[in-house]
């Protein structure tokens, strides 16, 4: 098997456990579009070209509530602002990609693919990282599409009391723990975690999420500077 093919398959395999958490998220996103009064073209169009779950749910919910278009767009874009930080963070890892390929790689950047690439793929010596990243996205996008469509069809049948949305933080929690190595990582997590617990309910439009990420980054950078640790 060529190295490229091996890398694509490795990306798909590494992201597989994460996909279990994507399914309920997609069901919610797809069923929201139907609740807004639309059908499969809108469900498929949105999940395919926006391809960013939280912002899809936020935009659709605000639309259902009758918010003005500018408010819907402003809010949903702020929800996605963290992806700008992800992009700056993953850019050196994907730097072997050609200028033509990079705009496409940007579209593939979502929480799950970022996490798989940064916490697993980047550390593997047996894969080329760009095909790994593309492979992980292909698996992710396939499951995302199917679960959005399934949500549109079955969504109204799944009771909210099941709490399936809880699987999203659980999967991220499982992905976080292997990265909690060393005092700096643990203290960055504490700062972001406390900031998120306090700021997310207080600040409007998911800005608390971005503020909590920024707080953790700033604390980590300040700590590294003080202890004289070099950037990795």
């Amino acid at each position: 098997m060529s190295r490229r093919k091996h890398s694509v398959l490795a990306g798909m395999k590494d992201i597989a456990p994460i996909l279990v958490g994507v399914v309920p998220f997609g069901l919610v996103a797809g069923s929201a579009v139907v609740r807004a009064g639309f059908a499969l073209p809108e469900v498929v169009g949105m999940s395919l070209i926006v391809c960013a779950g939280a912002s899809q749910i936020v935009a659709t919910t605000l639309f259902i509530d009758g918010a003005p278009i500018l408010v819907v767009l402003g809010t949903a874009l702020i929800v996605n602002a963290r992806m700008f930080i992800y992009s700056a963070s993953i850019a050196p890892v994907l730097s072997e990609a050609s200028a033509r390929l990079r705009p496409l790689l940007g579209h593939m950047l979502v929480d799950q693919n970022y996490v798989a690439t940064m916490t697993q793929g980047r550390l593997r010596l047996d894969v080329s990282i760009v095909p790994y990243y593309v492979g992980a996205w292909l698996a992710l996008a396939g499951v995302w599409q199917v679960s959005n469509v399934a949500g549109a069809v079955l969504g109204p049948l799944v009771p909210a009391a099941w709490g399936l949305d809880f699987s999203v933080p659980l999967v991220f929690l499982a992905l976080l723990t292997p990265s909690l190595k060393g005092r700096t990582a643990v203290s960055v997590a504490l700062v972001s975690g406390v900031a998120a617990a306090v700021l997310v309910p207080l600040l409007p439009m998911q800005t608390g999420l971005v503020a909590a990420i920024a707080a953790g980054m700033a604390y980590g950078a300040w700590r590294d500077r003080r202890t004289g640790e070099e950037p990795a």
Binding site: G21, L109, F166, S167, L173, A212, A215, G220
Partner: protein, 111 residues
Amino acid sequence: MSPRASFWLIILVLAAGTWAMRSIPIMLHGHVPNPPWLERLLKHVPVAALTALVVPGALYLKTDGILAFAPARAVAATVALFVALRTKNVLATLFVGMAVLWLGQWGLAAL
């Protein structure tokens, strides 16, 4: 504008804006300077972002647009944290966390 046209406008503008935010740093890499302070900040993004994504969903439940503390979720997330630290296994963490949540909801409802 019809609701359908409005919704498609939202989809298209949201897609374009999101694409720009997630692509521009990847596209510019190597063409703009990358100062050490920026690298020092970006190094902590994975841990900071994952934690900030986990904590609100682990503590709160959104009902009718309002976040409220959800004790069953907090307990389930704490148990799941220990399972994750111990097993380093995504599926084990997911199944134990969901099971504890359901038990907790059922227990709280029975009180």
